[in-house]
């Protein structure tokens, strides 16, 4: 065991059992998986992604790039950092060799999100952040304080003195006062992205540390969406490694991380320790680890190591060797020896732990996320914020301030507490790498990306560090540049022989740490992922065995199979029943827009291709809407309800588009028109009752209504009542048959539907779904906008010149019809296709080609004449048929073309679009 008595803040009164790579170990509450493994002497964790090299634990928190684990229990999760997984009793994990494994069962945990608004958001509860939060709260501001570790205090180990007290006592006092002042203080909460205007996303880990005791009703993770007037970034700094040969071996760790393991977890990560440093801070680690019983040697790259630290080190038996560079390591699954070069030559030092410190990188990610400028600071050997952003302040080590007194000052302002005496800082030596084989010098340990890879990037001609990042993948994945970013810039600058201050660094982007998709989804998963719209008859349809089809967000019955029927059989039966007797459709999803106002007719005349203002009250007209480019946008019917009131219908999927389209013109182009537009789609349920017996059904249910053709002609509507409930019936046909569309307040939908079914029973009334509706309309050549059209089709292409007014001086799209391209005879036109074999249903989307006169296919690329837009089996025609857009199609009626289907060319004849009842005899019954 490497646990040291008298150190650490784990709860040694309780023991937790866990399993790693199949072996059982113990740890304590307060441990991470990494600290517990180190306490058990385990340094080897897994193997690197690309090269499969043994990897261990190289840091103590999110900057660790090597100790990736797969958690199996409590719930399978891949690629977690062992350094951030809190140890719980019964945890089962294993090291990752290559890739992790996603769970194959649904995640039972809950995830949610919370919106928060605040005056000041402080990110980081280290000494700077705590004091910044305290100052703001004392000044009466509303304050939110976030910190990613389980407890506040940041990098304070407890050995420091603030205001004459041990640092952690001081921290406890500040935390207590923050609570009294009402500060919303969240630990275990990582701000992972900052966006414009004070918007910060943070992930709170709420139950992971409770393990199997986590209450199921409590969300496991919560995404906080915080909007703050002021954001204070107090995210500290991360130690920077130095690159040398075989620097990725288990047992090589950042110096401050080893100190963290000692003070936070009571773990001595090695007994025979070599510290390789270019900076003062590593001396604190050396001294503390020696004090805890390790044998420590410091190799300082600097010619003149700091005198104060040197004497403190010597006092605890640490030897300090100046002007020394580590050049390599030995050992496979853990470091065995360190190879170094001094001014006198090479040395080999036996060691079971090699600590590295190349200085400090301010954690500037969140500042960079919002395009905060970063500048190279040679005294840090790193990048720090340069200039300011409105509403964003960066303080403490994140701002490049590394002495405690300075950190407290930046956080506390006028209320700054006194720091205990610190050794004066001597500047770090800036060293990116030492001599060695660049193929084995790792810059990004997680990606197995080496100095040689940087050389290849530069050799390939890349000059921008942003491009180098993408070429090498350095700084992606968990690392996000935490350890690799500055090294990559520094080494690339050397390779290019430019200054790092000129080369710059990459732009950091969210997320700072990995965030599970489940957390981002929150409650919006499963059935809640996207709103589902159902008609008032949904339960009836389900009861009737309907197979549903998604149309936009709507669930629509597609067909109602009887036992033993597949879709084709059910649809043929529904079609035959409707054409021969009577069928009924739930058309409630049809888009409906109520247009009111004295200028309603003017607006519609300007938007529809035909005239609407001349429509008489009580009558219905079909209309087409085009864009400014003359292409069909949507179609539907227009009912004139009153002199200054119309009811428009749109396609189910086009309802929102049409309302938005009309609002845009009304608000931005013609605000002087006195018109109001209101969606009434859900207020009205609509049931087309269709077929030769429909008149009898309607006549029976609505006895007061004269349903004769003379009294109630095609394309008119009538208001009536049923048991006092208003009902509006329109004679509109989307099938070519005699049809009545029954509209009723959606509250009465089910009752009316059942009355109609009862009245139609003696005719075998058959509910039909969208598939049958599509077949019936296709047999009549009625296009469906969005299926038979794609935004490049004009009314003329559809063969609907009759719907384009010649009388109106203008309407949206009219001028485009005169453009030469709109009159190109090679435009694709709407036609039917009849496969000559009478059997093949051409797949929708199929391409249409034509053969040379000699019957041969042209050389590839074979010219495409068009494509199949709709295709069905027809009960009426007793054969399959298709609708298609074909170049110059109408002039080619009667010609033979070919459609490749599953590698075979199927011959088909081009025809008129109307295949059933071309003279329109059926619509009046």
């Amino acid at each position: 065991m490497s646990r040291v008595h008298g150190y650490g803040r784990v709860d040694r009164g309780r023991t937790l059992s866990f399993t790693f790579d199949g072996r059982e170990y113990t740890g304590h509450p307060g441990d991470t998986l990494a600290s517990a493994l180190l306490a058990n002497g385990v340094h080897l964790v897994g193997a690197s992604v690309k090269l499969g090299r043994p990897h261990g634990i190289s840091a103590a928190w999110t900057e660790d790039a090597t100790a990736l684990v797969q958690v199996e229990r409590p719930f399978p999760e891949p690629m977690l950092q062992a350094t951030t997984v809190e140890l719980v009793d019964g945890l089962v994990a294993r090291g990752v060799n290559g890739q992790g494994r996603l769970a194959d069962t649904p995640d039972p945990a809950r995830y949610d999100r919370k919106h928060t608004h605040t005056d000041t958001l402080v990110i980081g509860a280290g000494p700077a952040g705590l004091l910044a939060a305290l100052s703001a709260a004392r000044a009466g501001e509303d304050v939110v304080l976030l910190d990613d570790r389980p407890t506040a205090g940041g990098s304070l180990t407890g050995t420091e003195v603030i205001d004459g007290r041990p640092a952690l006592e001081f921290v406890d006092d500040v935390v207590a006062e923050l609570a009294r002042l009402g500060v919303r203080h969240l630990q275990r909460t990582t701000a992972f992205g900052q966006y414009d205007d004070g918007f910060v996303l943070a992930l709170e880990r709420r139950t992971d540390h409770l393990g199997f005791d986590a209450p199921a009703q409590r969300s496991r993770q919560r995404v906080h969406r915080i909007r703050a007037l002021k954001v204070v970034v107090a995210t500290g700094a991360q130690e920077r490694p130095i690159v040398f040969e075989d620097n990725d071996r288990p047992g090589i760790m950042l110096a401050a991380s080893a100190r963290d393991y000692l003070h936070r977890y009571g773990v001595l990560a090695g007994r025979e320790i070599v510290v390789f440093t270019a900076d003062d801070a590593a001396y604190a680690a050396a001294v503390d680890l020696a004090g805890a019983g390790a044998r420590v040697t410091v190799l300082d790259v600097r010619e003149n190591p700091p005198l104060d630290w040197k004497s403190r080190a010597n006092d605890v038996g640490v030897t300090v060797q100046p002007s020394t560079m580590v050049t390599g390591t030995e050992g496979e699954e853990r470091v065995r020896a360190v190879l170094a070069r001094t001014t006198d030559g090479g040395v080999r030092l036996p060691a079971d732990l090699l600590l590295v410190s190349g200085g400090w990188n301010p954690v500037v990610h969140l500042f960079s996320h919002v395009r905060g400028a970063l500048a190279y600071d040679p005294s840090l050997g790193s990048f720090r914020p340069s200039g300011s952003l409105p509403g964003v302040t960066v303080i403490g080590a994140a701002n490049g301030t590394l002495d405690l007194a300075g950190v407290l000052r930046e956080g506390g302002g006028p209320d700054t507490p006194a720091a205990g005496p610190e050794p004066a800082r001597t500047p770090a030596a800036v060293v990116w790498r030492t001599d060695g084989d660049p193929e084995r010098q790792f810059v990004d340990l997680q990606r197995d990306a080496t100095v040689a890879d940087l050389g290849r990037a530069v050799g390939a001609g890349l000059r921008s560090v942003e491009h180098v990042k993408r070429y090498t993948t350095i700084g992606t994945a968990h690392d996000q540049g935490k350890t690799s970013g500055v090294l990559a810039s520094g080494i690339t600058a050397e390779l290019l022989d430019v200054g790092i201050e000129d080369l710059g660094t990459t732009t950091f982007r969210p997320p700072y740490t990995p965030v599970a998709f489940a957390a981002l989804a929150g409650r919006g998963r499963g059935e809640l992922f996207d709103p589902v719209r159902t008609t008032p008859l949904h339960d009836w349809h389900a009861e009737a065995g309907a197979v549903f089809e998604d149309v936009g967000q709507w669930k629509r019955p597609r067909y109602y199979p009887r036992p033993g029927e597949d879709m084709d059989a059910a649809v043929l039966r529904e079609c035959a029943a409707t054409r021969s007797s009577v069928g009924m459709l739930d058309g409630s999803t049809l888009g409906k827009i109520d247009v009111q106002g004295p200028d309603a007719g003017v607006l519609l005349d300007r938007l529809y291709t035909n005239m609407m203002s001349t429509l008489k009250v009580g009558r219905v007209r079909y209309g087409v809407l085009c864009g400014n480019d003359g292409m069909v946008l949507d179609d539907g019917t227009v009912l004139r309800i009153d002199e200054d009131r119309y009811l428009l219908t749109t396609t189910t999927g086009g309802a929102a588009t049409v309302l938005d389209w009309m609002e845009e013109w009304l608000q931005t182009e013609w605000p002087e028109l006195r018109v109001h537009l209101t969606s009434v789609t859900e207020q009205w349920s609509v049931f087309p009752v269709v077929g030769p017996r429909s008149r009898e059904v309607i006549g029976e249910v609505f006895a007061e209504l004269d349903v004769s053709n003379d009294a109630f002609p095609f394309m008119s509507w009538r208001d009536t009542t049923l048991d006092g409930v208003p009902v509006r019936i329109a004679r509109i046909s989307f099938s070519g048959e005699l049809a009545y569309e029954v509209n009723v307040n959606s509250w009465y939908a089910l009752a009316l539907w059942e009355r109609l079914l009862a009245a139609g029973r003696r005719f075998g009334i058959t509910p039909y779904g969208t598939e049958t509706m599509h077949v019936l309309r296709a047999e009549k050549g009625y296009p469906i906008i969005g299926q038979d059209t794609d935004g490049t089709v004009t009314p003329q292409d559809l063969g609907m010149n009759w719907v384009v007014s010649k009388k109106k001086e203008d309407f949206v799209g009219k001028r485009s019809f005169a453009r030469p391209e709109n009159n190109n005879p090679q435009r694709k036109q709407f036609v039917s296709l009849l496969p000559t074999d009478g059997r093949t249903k051409l797949p929708e989307g199929s391409q249409i080609v034509e053969l040379y006169e000699d019957g041969k296919l042209p050389e590839p690329p074979v010219p495409m004449l068009g494509h199949v837009t709709s295709s069905y089996h027809s009960a009426e025609l007793a054969r399959p048929f298709a609708l298609a857009l074909v170049k110059n199609g109408r002039a080619r009626i009667g010609e033979l073309v070919h459609v490749p289907v599953a590698g075979v060319l199927v011959p088909a004849v081009i025809g008129e679009t109307v295949l059933v009842d071309p003279e329109g005899a059926r619509r009046d019954g």
């Binding site: 918007f199 609002e663 845009e664 182009e669 002087e672 005169a818 453009r819």
Partner: protein, 91 residues
């Protein structure tokens, strides 16, 4: 996630808004009299400056009203948002 200042509702998150292209492209008085080129300019051609740009936006998930904005296409920042001006004074 910028805050966009809807002239009617005040500052709201950008996901509530819909971009409507360049502002001030008025529907021609008499389209029939335009040349093909002029009509094409109206339908298809828009400015694409790096810098200040007059745009139309709609508060589509809020009050559903359109308004004019001036935005810097380089920084994405909104410089101003205003209710649509009466038609007479529009360019």
């Amino acid at each position: 996630m910028q805050l966009i200042h809807c002239p009617w509702c005040g500052p709201r998150e950008e996901v509530e808004f819909h971009y409507g292209g360049q502002a001030g492209v008025a529907y021609p008085e008499r389209p029939a009299e335009l040349s093909d080129q002029d009509w094409a300019e109206y339908v298809f051609y828009r400015d694409n400056p790096k810098g200040t740009f007059a745009e139309r936006w709609s508060h589509s998930a809020g009050c559903r009203r359109w308004f004019d904005a001036v935005r810097d296409t380089h920084t994405y920042r909104f410089l101003s948002t205003t209710k649509p001006r009466p038609k007479e004074v529009r360019v």
